[in-house]
Amino acid sequence: MNCPKSPVSSSRVAVLIAGLGLSLLAGCNTSAPVQGPAAGAVRSSGATAPTDLQLLCAAEAAEQLQITDGNVLPVSSGPSGGTGYRVNLTFEGGEAVCVIDDDGMVQSIDRI
């Protein structure tokens, strides 16, 4: 705030300061409160695919790769792309990688 170049009455300055203060308070009151997790919310320290998506990958791999005993096990997973996940799978005699989206649609199964 620039200092007035000409003398101003003290009461007028007080009003100006009060008005400035109210403006600042009004600005604070109208800003949205910071949203965050609820108190006591928990999470894993690592990012893995949702449990059921990992299993969907395993089931799809068993079918596509014709794993006769059906025992395909997800061994690791993580985010892939914007809204999908990559799930690494193991089974008797091999491994595969599955990419699945958040809606549970398997995008690809690749034997490695």
Partner: protein, 226 residues
Amino acid sequence: MTGLSGPLRTALRWLPAAVLAAVATAALAQTFNTQIYDHVNRKWVDYSPQAAVRYYRMHGQTPEEFQRQVVPFRTAEKPGTIIIDGDRHFLYLVLPGFQAIRYGIGVGRDGFGWAGIVTVGRKQEWPVWTPPAEMIARDPEAAQWKDGMPGGPDNPLGARALYLYVGNKDSIYRIHGTNQPWSIGLNISSGCIRMNNDDVTDLYSRVEVGAKVIVLMQGAALYKGV
């Protein structure tokens, strides 16, 4: 189970036979722990055993997300199948209609986690706890119970135990209750899956012997079964 070479088996003979195959295929463990939101400081912090005890004493229970609840669950596994997600500390019992009952669990601490496909071989109410030889070897306090600790509220296995098998062989791993209910959500056990006694009693009443159990735990030793 995949066999091991003679010299390696000799070197590892102090380990129980059920663990040998898992060690042979072990990957470098990538342990995921639980974090809890500190709303005062607005940040996620480690849910350590100390934090877990404090939380339990303050609230009389573990965090809300570890409470038993029905959740959506998209899977082709048949109802009655148990899915254990050790990374997220949840056990799911598959229900019809793409739902599951989700329970909070405690899992193996560093070096004791495992993953695989097994079955429920048998069940027991208020089971006797007999520490395995390697536990007695590393924990002298367990030696007093070498002949078995009777079932009861102070027993580490708690109210119920589901014994996990590979075919007809005991894997040494169990899903069981606990005398430390604050430990749900932690990586704290010797490999067994622990639940609070109310939850394990509920699960016990719903699960049949022979049920398939799928254990997911990123980077843990693979226990290949079934």
